[in-house]
């Protein structure tokens, strides 16, 4: 029989497992480590103005591909609020019939940097308007444009040359002349558009922890092909710093106000760190409305149940490893996994003590049942009830002595305990107490190792958040099922055969 399909299957499982995990990390931003933290920014825009009568205020909302919006809220007592989205981006609109005096409106957004620093969301090219310069400035502008044009190769390098010129007016008299009339950003944009380069002014916020009363700064975005490039007209440099939040990219103004006067928008911001996983989940739940099928959409109770169940493949893998590669024997193939699952609830020490207490008491009571000459099925059933009684008694005792750890004893699977007691009891009768300790100890050892493998944060995190890991576990189990080499304990067992003769 050809082994190729088998190895292909293994490869497929491992590749799709790793692929899916990578996808989860890259696209859904699930962190590889459970303790990872993620920076988030809380930015508050405060709009103040004086009003008398009906007012409509429209604020541009942040549209930056480098930041993901986690949540947003607007505080505006007495105002009707609506969020709209059109070609010029998202906007919040506050309306009221009757406002008088000084007014304050707040908009708060939680934003997460996502590391996506390309501005490639241009659906259509900006239209370049026909601009007319004032008499006298026209020649200056043409001179500046001509100089930058000569020293550049494309829109992008042309914009950079222009930005440099605008940022250093002392080197060019023409620029100084133009700056007397226009703001640097407006001038740069005007020069670019005059030369036929698609560009626009964007308003951005420098994010800095704890800053208040900040204003938006004007930057110039130049379109070259599908990508947009940002230029800082004040420093004459290209590129965006990490802590720059583009607030308004499309449309005309940040704030449009009708019915009010003396308006201003200021921004405050706080940097915050929160668990990366929670942030990723919040971001996914925002997207989940479209996708729908996600474990995280389940009710919390089912989620926590699944969390437990997803540990089982890990436990099974450990048991397969210990049996096939190490050669440990266990009483009942997967009994150790179930005991280990109970240990997760009880914690190790209480679990061990509880397990030994229950089994010891069970063995004593079971020895009486031995004398009754019962059918196996009724004897096992009787043991099940005895185990229940023992568990109830210990819980009661533990509670009365104030040992709250003892209460978790109820998590042990009763049927498994009953069978363990029955097997141990038969073993005791047939092969004596020594064998009971050897086999019982072996099973308990495997259970403890399985518990240690399952009950750590990294494994829990991976088992639930990176489901691809289960495909890899499956592949590993399949590969181990093909292992024909020696088990570790066989190396000890067959040691006399390996010794040199003579």
């Amino acid at each position: 029989m050809s082994r190729k399909p088998f190895y292909f299957l293994i490869f497929l499982l491992i590749a799709s497992g790793f692929g899916y995990n990578l996808y989860r990390h890259k696209v859904d931003h699930i962190p590889f480590f459970p303790g990872s933290v993620q920076t988030t920014w809380t930015v508050e825009a405060r709009i103040t103005y004086n009003a008398n009568g009906p007012v409509e205020a429209t604020l541009a909302l942040p549209t930056d591909p480098a930041f993901t919006l986690l949540s947003e809220s607007a505080a505006s007592p007495g105002y009707g609020l609506s969020m709209t989205e059109d070609q010029s981006g998202r906007r919040a609109t506050w309306t009221t019939r009757n406002a008088s005096g000084s007014q304050e409106l707040y908009y708060t957004a939680n934003l997460v940097p996502n590391g996506y620093d390309l501005l490639d969301d241009h659906a259509t090219e900006y239209t370049v308007p026909n601009l007319v310069w004032d008499e006298g400035l026209d020649t200056a502008a043409q001179t500046v444009i001509a100089k930058a044009w000569d020293q550049s190769a494309n829109n992008r390098s042309f914009a950079l040359q222009l930005a440099k010129l605008v940022a250093n007016p002392e080197q060019q008299q023409n620029v100084a002349l133009l700056l007397a009339r226009y703001e640097p950003a407006a001038l740069l944009n005007r020069l670019l558009q005059t030369a036929g380069v698609p560009s626009q002014i964007v308003y951005a916020l420098n994010l800095e922890d704890g800053r208040r009363r900040q204003a938006l700064r004007a930057w110039v975005e130049v379109q070259d092909g599908e990508n947009g490039y940002l230029f800082n007209p004040e420093s004459g440099t290209e590129g965006r710093p990490d802590n720059l939040l583009l607030w308004q990219r499309h449309g005309n103004s940040v704030l449009e106000l009708t019915g009010g006067s003396n308006s201003s928008v200021t921004f405050s911001m706080i940097e915050d760190t929160r668990p990366a996983l929670a942030t990723a989940l919040d971001m996914m739940s925002a997207a989940a409305q479209e996708r729908g099928l996600s474990l995280y959409n389940l009710p919390l109770e089912e989620q926590s149940l699944l969390r437990g169940l997803f540990l089982i493949p890990i436990g099974v893998l450990v048991v397969v490893f210990l049996r096939v590669l190490i050669g440990l024997k266990t009483s009942g193939t997967f009994m150790p996994v179930l005991i280990a699952l109970a240990f997760i609830q009880t914690k190790l020490l209480t679990g061990l003590v509880g397990f030994l207490l229950i089994v010891a008491c069970g063995l004593v009571l079971r020895s009486y049942l031995s004398n009754l000459n019962l059918l196996l099925i009724s004897r096992i059933s009787a043991v099940v009830i005895l185990v229940l009684g023992i568990i109830a008694a210990f819980t009661l005792l533990a509670f009365n002595f104030g040992l709250t750890e003892g209460l978790t004893i109820t998590f042990f699977p009763m049927i498994i305990l009953a069978w363990t007691i029955e097997r141990m009891s038969i073993l005791w009768e047939e092969e004596g107490p020594k064998e009971v300790f050897v086999q019982g100890g072996g099973s308990l050892l495997v259970a403890v190792i399985t518990y240690l493998a399952m009950d750590n944060d990294l494994v829990r995190h991976w088992a639930f958040n990176f489901l691809g890991i289960h495909l890899i576990v499956l592949a590993l189990i399949l590969v181990m099922g093909q292992y024909t080499g020696y088990r570790l304990l066989e190396l000890r067992r067959f040691r006399p055969l390996a010794e040199d003769k003579q």
Binding site: G485, F494, P496, L497
Partner: protein, 318 residues
């Protein structure tokens, strides 16, 4: 060093458990035939058909209500053993060697009451000793009156002869003798002594207990290396014939020598253990490969035994 070098084991052709399961049991023993050897009653019927001698059947208890007839069915017997038909690893075998005034005695002298035996039968029927806890039947067989040549090398129990039969070729053999520690049972992991024997003539090569070499029987101090198994050729024929009878390629045959009836087939095992390698101080793999190299040719029992003797005999430890 607690562990030995796996390369040394490999060079000596020692077979490990995983390899046995995948390369031999999995490959040569069709699942559908397991029942024939896992159920001792079926094995017995097959053996009857193939004219292979087995211990006398006293009674079979297959229903719970039959247990009340137990005393009646055992009337007049002076020694017998009760086994689960589908037991594994020697579990649930109760041997009674002496019956006096309605009291039953184990080989160790321990007394067993009738109600103990009834409970034992009830446990067997409920499947306590069978693989996977399936319902089972209790088989009561006549006791083996063991051959006096084995006097002193087996304590409180019948020695049995285990032969590994691969595609009908007897490849390795050992004599298993019970000890006080094994409570009259011939299972090595329970403390029985395993004596590796030469395939050519049944002469002892070496003896082990608990996987360690021994020279003398721990209870009787008899020299184990001096043992010569009688009726050796008949034993080889019996074992080799089990291949056709069961259809299993990789087989462990357990046989006993009865003082009156000669070699008897006790049971077959589709998953024979690996301790035989330690008892023989030889790896199974070179022998198994030699036979695998023959391909799909068929040989008669006589040819197989002749070849096995030629290839595997006389390999005394160097």
């Amino acid at each position: 060093m607690i562990f030995c070098d796996p390369r040394r084991l490999r060079s000596r052709g020692i077979m490990g458990m995983n390899q046995r399961n995948i390369s031999y049991i999995g490959r040569y023993n069709p699942r559908s035939l397991y029942k024939q050897v896992d159920d001792k009653l079926i094995t017995k019927q097959l053996a009857l058909k193939a004219e292979i001698a087995t211990p006398d059947l006293i009674s079979v208890i297959s229903e719970q209500h039959e247990i009340s007839d137990l005393a009646q069915r055992l009337a007049g017997q002076t020694g017998f053993c009760i086994k689960p038909a589908q037991g594994s690893g020697g579990k649930g075998i109760l041997v009674i060697t002496k019956v006096e005034d309605g009291k039953f005695f184990k080989p160790s002298g321990g007394e067993v009451s009738l109600s103990d035996m009834e409970r034992h039968c009830s446990n067997i029927l409920a499947g306590l000793f069978s693989l996977g806890g399936k319902n089972d039947v209790a088989v009561i067989e006549a006791l083996i009156r063991f051959d006096p040549v084995f006097e002193g090398i087996s304590y409180e129990g019948v020695p049995d002869i285990r032969l590994i039969v691969f595609k009908g070729f007897p490849v390795m053999g050992m004599l298993r003798c019970s000890t006080h520690a094994s409570d009259g049972k011939a299972n090595l992991h329970q403390g029985a002594v395993g004596i590796g024997v030469d395939i050519a003539n049944g002469q002892a090569i070496r003896a082990v207990q608990y996987d360690e070499p021994v020279q003398l029987h721990p209870d009787t101090s008899k020299d184990l290396h001096a043992v010569q198994v009688p009726h050796w050729d008949r034993l080889l024929e019996l074992a080799s014939g089990c291949y056709e009878m069961s259809g299993l390629g990789y087989l462990g045959t357990d046989m006993v020598l009865d003082s009156e009836r000669g070699p008897l087939l006790l049971e077959l095992n589709a998953r024979p253990g690996l301790a035989i390698q330690i008892a023989n101080d030889q790896g199974l793999l070179p022998r198994l490969r030699k036979i695998e190299a023959l391909g799909d040719q068929t040989f008669s029992v006589e040819e197989r035994i002749a070849k096995a003797k030629e290839w595997f005999g006389g390999q005394a430890p160097n």
